[in-house]
């Protein structure tokens, strides 16, 4: 394995600049940093907030598993994943993935792999709180996320 991933599941917001610095500061062997940030979207202005529920323990374990798989599959020098839970407003950050490597292919592949597996394997669920005060719906899982995971099947 090329790196030990840093995994955090927390209610607090995060700062991608600080997290990138932790992976790159004081070393000059990293040529590529790919960062993914998932934000809470409003759905046609009707969303007041998302409430993210998670399965403590298993959420960390599943994110760690996909991060370790990425580190085994590509020459990744550093990998950080932070996923929030609790109430998150439109425009706020939900998830952060940073992958660093000597070369850009590993950094891109690693970050995207973690996002694709996190979406379908990590036990988080989103519930909508609507502006009109109505009890919102639980967000449906997307077939496209299952398809996205399938693209990493080794032939």
């Amino acid at each position: 394995m090329s790196a030990t991933p840093n995994i955090r599941v927390q209610p607090e917001d995060f700062n991608q600049t600080i997290e990138i610095e932790k992976l790159t500061k004081g070393r000059a062997d990293i040529g590529a940093v790919t960062t993914f940030i998932g934000l809470c979207r409003s759905e046609g202005e009707s969303l007041n907030a998302l409430e993210l529920e998670h399965y403590p323990g298993m959420a960390e374990a599943e994110v760690t598993k996909s991060a370790q798989e990425a580190c085994e599959r590509w020459p990744i020098d550093g990998l950080t994943v932070i996923h929030r839970y609790g109430v998150i407003k439109p425009g706020e950050q939900i998830v952060l993935v940073i992958a660093t490597s000597r070369h850009r292919d590993a950094a891109f592949d690693g970050a995207r792999y973690v996002m694709d597996f996190l979406k379908t394997n990590a036990p988080f669920w989103k519930k909508e709180h609507r502006i009109d005060g109505k009890t919102g719906e639980w967000v449906d899982a997307k077939e496209s996320d299952v398809d996205a995971k399938a693209r990493w099947a080794k032939s």
């Binding site: 374990a61 669920w125 639980w138």
Partner: protein, 87 residues
């Protein structure tokens, strides 16, 4: 009946059942994940409603994902939840 096991429910399964956690003993007839869901459905109306489409229910044994034909084994913790929507 086996040893008592902690069962966790999440998301709309938790809401429909009306609780997030319980500790129960499973009958010996529950040998697979499918057996578990079939037995759970019959416990009461809330469970029947929560598990009315068993194909989409995900079951974790000791925090590991399973397929429905997997054996239950002797886990310390079982979790039932709908498809995940994180990220």
């Amino acid at each position: 009946m086996g040893e008592p096991v902690k069962i966790l429910y999440f998301s709309w399964i938790r809401e429909r059942i009306g609780m997030g956690e319980e500790t129960i003993s499973l009958p010996d007839s529950v040998r697979t994940v499918t057996d578990l869901l079939t037995w759970m459905q019959k416990r009461n109306d809330q469970f029947a409603h929560a598990l009315e489409v068993p194909d989409i229910i995900r079951v974790a044994l000791d925090q590991e994902h399973t397929e429905h034909d997997d054996p239950i084994g002797t886990p310390r913790e079982i979790a039932l939840f709908p498809p995940m929507t994180g990220g």
